[in-house]
Subunit: 217 residues, 8 copies
C-alpha cells in the first residue's frame, strides 16, 4: 500500500505540518520548537499556544519565534514568498478576535495576503454595507461569528465569492459552546456557505488556502 500513498504532506496537500499545543506539555512544545529554530530548520506553525505556555518556554528558543498573543499562534523560520490570491476575514464582534486572528496568522504563514474586517456583525448592518464592495473584491471570504451567527446568512446573501464560515464558542445560555452558531451557519438560507468546526480558525485558513492555491498552479 505504501506504493499508493506518497510520504510528504506539504507536497501532497499543500499544507505544512502544524502543532496543536492545547493539551500538550510545555516540554513537548518547547522540544518541537527547539528542533525548528535556527538558520537551517524548516518552519513550523504552532496553534492554541497560550500566553502562559509561551512564556514558560526557555527564552533562547522563545526569542527566535514569532508569537502573536491574541491568536495564540507562533511560527519558527522564514515565511514563504507571497503567493497569488487574497482572502478577506470578517468577524461579527471583537470577542471573535482569537479565532479570526488564528485564521489570519495561518494565512500569513502559508504565504497569502489577507485583510481583516472586524466588528461587522448584523447588529450594525451599515458597517457591513459600507465595507461590502471592498470585501467582494477578495478571492475568498472567511467569516467568523458566535451567538446566532446571523452574519453567515446576511453576508452569504451579498457576496458571490467562496465563503468559509467559522462558528465561535462565544456566548452564554443556549449559545454556550458554539453549537447554536454552528447550526445557524449550517442552516443558513444563503446558498453555498461552507462551515468549519467551532473555533477552528486554523482550518478555515487551510480551506481558503486550498482555494487560493488554484491561482498558483
Amino acid at each position: 500500500m505504501s506504493i499508493l500513498f506518497d510520504h510528504s504532506r506539504p507536497e501532497r496537500i499543500g499544507l505544512p505540518e502544524t502543532v496543536f499545543c492545547q493539551g500538550k506539555t510545555v516540554d513537548a512544545v518547547a522540544g518541537l520548537m527547539r528542533e525548528h529554530v535556527g538558520p537551517l530548520a524548516s518552519p513550523l506553525l504552532f496553534t492554541r499556544l497560550s500566553k502562559d505556555m509561551f512564556e514558560a518556554i526557555p527564552e533562547d528558543v522563545r526569542k527566535q519565534v514569532d508569537y502573536h498573543e491574541l491568536s495564540r499562534t507562533a511560527w519558527t523560520g522564514v515565511l514563504p514568498e507571497v503567493k497569488h490570491g487574497r482572502a478577506a476575514l470578517v468577524s461579527a464582534g471583537t470577542s471573535d478576535g482569537p479565532v479570526l486572528w488564528e485564521a489570519a496568522r495561518t494565512l500569513e504563514y502559508l504565504g497569502f495576503c489577507r485583510t481583516v474586517f472586524e466588528d461587522s456583525g448584523v447588529a450594525g448592518l451599515w458597517r457591513l454595507a459600507g465595507r461590502l464592495d471592498e470585501i467582494n473584491s477578495f478571492d475568498a471570504i472567511i467569516l467568523v461569528a458566535g451567538m446566532d451567527a446571523a452574519l453567515a446568512s446576511v453576508l452569504g446573501g451579498l457576496t458571490p465569492k467562496p465563503v468559509i464560515a467559522v462558528p465561535t464558542s462565544v456566548g452564554y445560555g443556549v449559545a454556550e459552546g458554539g453549537k447554536t452558531a454552528l447550526h445557524s451557519m449550517l442552516a443558513s438560507c444563503a446558498p453555498g456557505v461552507t462551515v468549519m468546526n467551532i473555533d477552528n480558525g486554523y482550518g478555515a485558513a487551510c480551506a481558503a488556502a486550498r482555494i487560493l492555491r488554484l491561482f498558483n498552479g
Copy 2:
C-alpha cells in the same frame, strides 16, 4: 380559593378559551364546536384544526364556522369590536405561512388590527428594507422564521418596537424540528427580542395582545 380567582379566563387574563385540536378526536372537536355555534353561543377559537379534521365535522356545524385552511384555525360566533393597537406580522419565507397565519387569525379573533409582511427573509434584504418604515409604524411586531432565523437579529436591530419571535419547524438536517431557529432567536445579538415555543403562532398573538391591551385601559 374560589373567592380569590374568578372563573372566567377572558376577564382574568384578557384571553378567551381556545381548543388545541391536534391529538383530539373528531368527535371531541365537533362536540365542542356544536356547543359554541348558534346565535346565543359564546365564540370559541380552534387551532391546529387540519383540513381533514375540519371536513370530517358534520356539515350543519361546519357551515356555521369561520375556517381558514392555511392557518388551520376556525372560530364560532361573532368577532368583538376592533380594539386599539396594531401588530405587524413578518415572516422569512412562504413556508412559514401556517405559523404566521395562525398568529394573524388569532389576533383577528381577539379584535386587533394586524398586517402581514410575508417573504421578508434576509436572503432578500432589500425586501425587508423597503418595508421597514411601514413595519416600524406598528405597535408590536411578530416575527416568524425557520432554518437559521437570521431575521430575528436583523429586524431586531432595525426596530424600536416590541418584537415577539416565533421559530418554525421548517428545515432539514440540523434545522429539522426548529431547534436551530429557536436557539438562534434566543441568542440574537439584537437586544430585547422575546421568543415563543416552536410553531407557536397562537402564543405569539396572545403575547402581542397582552401588549396591545395596554392601549385599551
Copy 3:
C-alpha cells in the same frame, strides 16, 4: 474602531450601547469606562462585570462609576429623566437574584420605574397570591426562575399583563445550566408568555423597555 461604535443605536432602536464584560480583559473594560466618565461623557452600561474585575479597574475611574455587586452591573454618567411606564420584576428564589437585579438595574439605567418582588416561587404560593394585585398594577412583568420554572405557568395564568420570562442557570442534575427552566417556560400552558435566553436579565429589561416606550410616544 471608535468610529464604528454604534452611537446611533439609541435613536434607531431606543436602546443605548452596552458593554458585556465577561470574556473581555480588564484593560479593555477599563479603557471603555475611562472614555465614558467625566462631565461631558455619554453614559454607558456595563453588564457581567464581576466584583473581581471591577476592583481591578484603576480607582480614579472606578470612583466615577455606579457599581452594583449582586447584579454585576455598572454605569457611567447621569441617568435620564424617568419615563412613563412601570415594570414589576418577580423572582422564584433568592438564588435568581443576580439575573433579577441585572434586569432591574438595566431598567433603572434606561429610565423606567421598576419594583422587585423576590422569593415568589410556587413552593410558597401564598406569597405570590398576597402580591398578585400589586403585581398586576404594573404595565409589564419580568419573571425570573430556575429549576423547573413553574412560576411561568402559574403567574402567566393569573395576570393579563405582558410577561417576559427569564430562565436562570440555577440548579443541578437535569436542571444544570438552565435548559429545563428554558424549555418549561417555552412550553408554559399560560398563553402569551414570552421567553429570553438563559440568565439574560439585560435582554429582559430591553424587551420591557420596548413595551414601556409605547407610552412615551
Copy 4:
C-alpha cells in the same frame, strides 16, 4: 444462585405479570390472551393494546376480556378482592387521559381503590384548589402532566402524601416527546416528588401499589 432467588414474581414483588402489547404481533397477543381466558385461567393484564389491535383479536377470545379503549388496557380473569389503601390520580389536561387511565386501570386490576381528578392543571388553579382537601385524604397521589408539568411543583407543595409524577409525551416544539415535562418534574422545587418514565402510567400504578401494600401486611 437459583437458591437465592425465588421463582414467582407475584409472590416476590407483589406485582403480577403484564403484557406490553406495543410492538408485538396480533398473533402473539391473541395467543397469550387465549391462554388466560376461561374459568380456570390466571388473570393477565395487557397494556398499550390499541383499539385496532384489540379488534383484530378473534371474537371468541375478545368477548372474555375486559377492554378499556382510552387507557389501551385489557385484562382476563376475575379481579382480586379490594385491598386497603386508596390512591388519587390527578391530571393536568384531558390529553393526559390515556396515561392517567392506564394508571387507574392498573390499580383497579391490582385491587386498589382509586379516584380520578382530571383537568386540574395550573392554568386553572381554582379547580385544583377546590379539590385539594379531598385529594389529600388519599394515601398516595399519582400526578400526570405534559408540556411544562408545572402541576408537579404546585401540587407537590400542597400535599404531605407520597407523590408519583408521570410526564406525558403531550406537546409540540420543545415539549414534543415529553422530555421537558420529565425534566421539570425531576427538578421540581417541591421536595420528595418521585418521577416515572414518560407515559408510564402502568409503572406509576405499580409504584403506588408498592406503597399501598404496606397497609396490607
Copy 5:
C-alpha cells in the same frame, strides 16, 4: 388566598424548611445558621454544605451545629422523637457515598430510622443477595447508583417494597454527569421503581418520609 394556605411548611407537607448552601455566600449561610442556634431556635437543615464553607463559618456558631462531612449536611437544634417506619438505603459503590449519606442524614433529621447498605452493586451480586432478606424487612428502600445503575432493575425485581432510586453523577465518558444512570433507572424493567433528580439524596429522603408518615397518622 392566605386563608387557604397555612404558612408553615412542616404542618402543610410534613417537611421542614431546608437551606441548599451550594451557590450561596458563606455570610448568607452563616447568618441563617446563627438565627437557628440556641435553646429557643427552631431546628434547620443545611445541605450541600462543603467542608470549606463550613470551616469558614464563625466558630461560635459552628460549634452549636451537627455537621457531617461526607454528606455535606448540618443541622441546628434538637432532633424530633423517632417516628414509626424504617428505611433501607442501598448504594452501588463507595463513590455514591455523598448522595447516600445526604439521604441518610435527612431521614435522621426528619426523625426516621434508617440503615445503610453500601457497596451492593451488581458487579458483586452475591453481596446484594446476602443482604436481600434484611433489606426487604424495611418499609421503604432508597437506592443510590451511578454509571449504568443496573442496581435499579436488579433490586427492583427482588423487592416488593417502595423503591426510590437516585442516580449519581459518578462516572466518565457517556456516564459523566449522571444522565445515563438517570435514564437507566427511568427505563428500568422492574415495575414501579420511582426516580429522583441526579444526586438528589435530600429529595429521596423526603419522598421516603412522605411514605413513612403514613404510619404516623
Copy 6:
C-alpha cells in the same frame, strides 16, 4: 459497478460481502439476489430485508433463497463447512428477537455454531442463573438488550468470556431509540464488555466471528 464489488473482502478481513436492504429499492435487491442464485453463484447475505420487500421479489428468485422472517435475513448459495468455535446469544426479552436472530443467522451464514438463550433479562434473574454454567461453556457471548440493558452488567460480571453487547431500540420515553441501552452498556460496571451500534446484530456476529476465527488458524 459489479467490477468494484468487494469480492476480495472475504480474504482480507475474513468477512464476506453483505447487502443492507433497508433504504434500497426492491429492484436493486432483487437484481443483486438474482446474480447470486444458481449452482455457480457465490453466496450472499442480505440483512434488514423486510417480509414485505422479500415478498415483492420475483418468485423464481425468491424460492432459491433461504429467508428468515423474524431476523429479516436471507442468503443465497450453500453455507460453508462448520468451523471451530461456538457462540452463545443471550437476549433480555422477546422483543429483542429481531436483533438476536440477525446475529444468530449471520453466525450460521459465516459457518459458526451458535445457541440462543432468549428471555434471560434481569427481571427474571433465576432464568439467567439457571443457564449460566451452560452459557459460560461457549467461546464468545453476544448479549442483546433494550430499555436499561442491565443484563450487560449482570452477565458481564458473571462470565470470563468475551462479551459483545448489542443495545436494541426497544422501549419508549427515555428508552426510545436505544440510546439509554447503548449508554448503559458502555458505562457497564463489568469490566471488558464491548458494545456495538444500536440494533446491529449483524455487526455483533462479525465481531464474534473475528474472535472465533482465532481457533481456525
Copy 7:
C-alpha cells in the same frame, strides 16, 4: 437602505433562484413550473421534487421539464453555456446517491463540468486509491458520505484541492439522521475540509460554483 443592496440575486451572488419543493403543495410547485416553461421563460431549478409530486404535475407542464428521479431535481429552460472549472463528486456508498446526484445536477444546471465517482468509501480503500490521481485533477471536490463519514479524513488527507463535504442521513442507531457523519466531518483530522448541512447536495454545488466562478472572471 435599498440604495445599499442590489435587487437581483443571479447578478449579485452568481446563483439563480431555486425552488425547494419538499413541504410545498403540488399546486404551488406546478404553478411556479408553469411560469418558467416556454421559449421566453427564464430557467428555474427545482430540488427535493419527489417522483410522486412530479407525476402529479399536469402533463403539459411536465413534458417541458428536465426531471431526474434519483436526485429529485428538475429544471425548466435551456442550460447556460459550459463555464471554466471542473468538479469531482465522490461518494462513499450507493445509498448516498440522492445527495450526490442533487449536487451533480445542480452543477450541470449552473453550467459547470462535473464527474461522479460513486462507491469510493474507506471500506474499499483500493477503489479510492485507484481513482486518486484522476480526482486530484479536478478544481474542486464534493465528498458525500453517511455513517461515520471516514472518507472526509481519508480523502481530505490525500488531496490539495478544495473539499466540500456533505454528510448524509443514511444510517441507523447512532448514525440515524446524519449527525454522526456531520460531526465526523467537522472534526476531521485533515485540515481545511469544509462542511455543509446534512443532505445538502444543492448547497455543496453552490459552494463549488462559488469557487469555480473564480476562473470565469
Copy 8:
C-alpha cells in the same frame, strides 16, 4: 468493608480487582495501597491515579509501587507469568497516549504481551500501511482515537482480527468530550468493530484479556 472486597473476582471472570482513583481521596487510595504492598500482599491495580495524587502518597508506600505517569496507572505486588496471546495497541495521535498506555499497562499487569503502534492516524495513511502486516500478526487489536476516529473504519477494513476501539475525549468544538469519536466508531462501516466507553483504556485491555484468555484454557 474489606470483608466485602471482591477477592473472588479473578476466579469468576478472570479479571482482578482494580481501584479507580479519580474522585477518591488521597487517604482512601493510600490506605488501599498500603494494604497491598509487602511480600505477602496480593497485587492490586490502580487507574486514573494522577501524578499529583501519587506524589501525595506517603513515600514508604510509594516506593513499593510501580507507577507510570502518562497512563496514570500503578500496581503493587509481582506480575503474573506471561500468558499466551498477544495484543497490538494502535493510536491515531500522540494526544491519545494516556488512554493507549492505560490499556497497555493493564494488559501488562494481566500478564499479556502487547506492542504499541502510536501515531498511526489516517492523516498519515502510509504510516499505518507500513505497519499493517505486523499489526495483523497479533491476536487482538486495541485501537485508540479521538476527533472523528476515522481510524476505526480504515483499520477495521484492513484486518481480520478482533478490534476493540476506544474513543478518546481529545478534541474541541463538536469533538469535545469524545462523543463524536464514540459515535463514529459505533457507526463504522467496517463490520465487527467493537467499542468501549470514552477514554476507557482499562476496559479495552480487559476486553482483550477476555479474548486472549481463550488461548490459556
